[in-house]
Symmetry: C2
Subunit: 384 residues, 2 copies
Amino acid sequence: MDNKQMLMIPGPTPVPEKVLLAMAKHPIGHRSGEFSKIIGELTENLKWLHQTQNDVLMLTASGTGAMEAGIINFLSPGDRVLVGNNGKFGDRWAKVSKAYGLTVEEIKAKWGKALDPEEFRAKLAADSDKSIKAVIVTHSETSTGVLNDLAAINTAVKEHGEALIIVDAVTSLGAVSLPVDEWGLDVVGSGSQKGYMIPPGLAFVSVSAKAWKAYESAKMPRFYLDLKKYKKATDENSSPFTPPVNLMYGLQASLQMMQAEGLDNIFARHQRHTQATRAAMKAMNLPLFAPDEAASPAITAVAPVTVDAEKIRGAMRKQFDIALAGGQDHLKGKIFRIGHLGFVCDRDILSCAGALESVLLGLGNSDATPGAGIAAAAQVFAGK
Amino acid sequence: MDNKQMLMIPGPTPVPEKVLLAMAKHPIGHRSGEFSKIIGELTENLKWLHQTQNDVLMLTASGTGAMEAGIINFLSPGDRVLVGNNGKFGDRWAKVSKAYGLTVEEIKAKWGKALDPEEFRAKLAADSDKSIKAVIVTHSETSTGVLNDLAAINTAVKEHGEALIIVDAVTSLGAVSLPVDEWGLDVVGSGSQKGYMIPPGLAFVSVSAKAWKAYESAKMPRFYLDLKKYKKATDENSSPFTPPVNLMYGLQASLQMMQAEGLDNIFARHQRHTQATRAAMKAMNLPLFAPDEAASPAITAVAPVTVDAEKIRGAMRKQFDIALAGGQDHLKGKIFRIGHLGFVCDRDILSCAGALESVLLGLGNSDATPGAGIAAAAQVFAGK
């Protein structure tokens, strides 16, 4: 139905009307005092969301741009880095690292499985001459719906003492608690079209004092992604290059909404949606791609056995105006992914579960009791 | 007055209501067939605006990001480049080039003066072993309101035969004819918040076949700004990284408006506004910072003698709700800049001239006949 689409993909995520209308305001000059105040407010609220006193910098870029900045500002060609790779994004950070001449050691897990913190610990413990300069980890692996055990990996990094930890929090920030200061996370990258509830185009990097120290001796060519330029400007409530004014209007509205809801409530909501979605899938006999203990709070990947995932996606879209994400790379046609990140309410999960049940019935491939999926989700919402 | 501000800065430029409302639509999935169609339409219309069959690629970045991409994709560390530097942006491209280890020779002119094409010709003619790999030129120098003679500089580059020409068209594209194919411009960078009439956040790079050939042997580290990734995706009506969906909705609306107006009409309008603005300033005895023969079609810089430029800016803002730009770097307080780029109609120029006359009277620093400025602008509009 025209104009009726419901986004349940891991990004862009649904955008509140308040944010859309804020973005439709006429831009003002980005060097004006008025806009300076907005940058100041955004920076404070971004720190709140990151649970940090570190710098949080805003870039006009996608999440990949933020992660690249997070890598190239603090390392030099030849530096040894450990990169966790259990999906498309972990794989991407390994590629970025190689493009800049880093010595990359990948710690891999099968797509759909979590990284093993013990492998990080072993590598780091064996590094007696402290040649490992950074550990790069994807927190929520968007391609598979796996949440890696960042706390455990980070503990191993902290035991090493020297290496920086660089985190892709693109689909975890704003969905699950990421206490940047408490954990001592050095660099955290994220993007606007995710938990932030605004359209794509803005990216964020938080930077610790330890990372800034590494910056001083880091030698990689950069200009647009040179984070020191952003820090200098941000300290003056400004930006080094023309910022995306209207997206920042949207961010202002969305961060105010997030503050009104409160971090704990936001995390509880994402947890509830994850549980309800997973319960519904199980009740429909649809295999979950990621294990319960490593379930992303942002995306649930489902691996249907008897029917092509793309057929399900097509029918969801055509009949119920719900956009789901497909599998990426070798998972294309094998999984579909339900995004429940950002501006998603309990009703949306019920809609999705109900639509899926109907689609499976329609495709003649459901051996589940009709209504079982919705019932399972409803039970989660009823607190049973 | 609240909500009544009129932007006459060189970016962000005024945004049509149609564009603002288009941007307030809910995003759709950037990997959907529906969005693919939009990318296809945008790409075609961008080629029309660039008067080219070359690739025109869209990046989530500021204009600086586009220019950096335009430099680092086609050159290798140590390569010799000529960089025209007669303002803040020319200076910036020299800095970017140095950050990436290029051997930079700057051809300079005083801020407010145009680059001398003869200096380029001499350097290029003397380069018998063809060691100059690229010439980097800012077409309209936003910081000073100077339009460099790109056609003449380009002729010298073409006589050289080997060097690429890389053009900063950030405030010239959409304001003055830039026939990319006719002139054989290899790389042209631009940004959304200028002639495109949309808010900041999108940047554009056009790339010639000759530049792609240079790409094959170019060796600089890059990933997010790797233009081959953008070409590959654009060829499939897609994007390598999540694009700024809502800004692209806005771009769709603005390019449709531009096509309805027609390139010749757009250029004539900018020319008319430039002439009317300059005539008004002269009639008010306000010295123009750039000479007539090198007047930017986007920005007129004015260097008041008897009153501080910042005082004029402040009064224009406070009393008439018109935002003008100040001078940058050493020109701060010495000049103010009137942006007449993008979504500007004849009425806006009259408003600005009238307000300026009133402000100068109020500051007690005008020796001009009251009404002379408006009259001079009106004469231009009357075709006299």
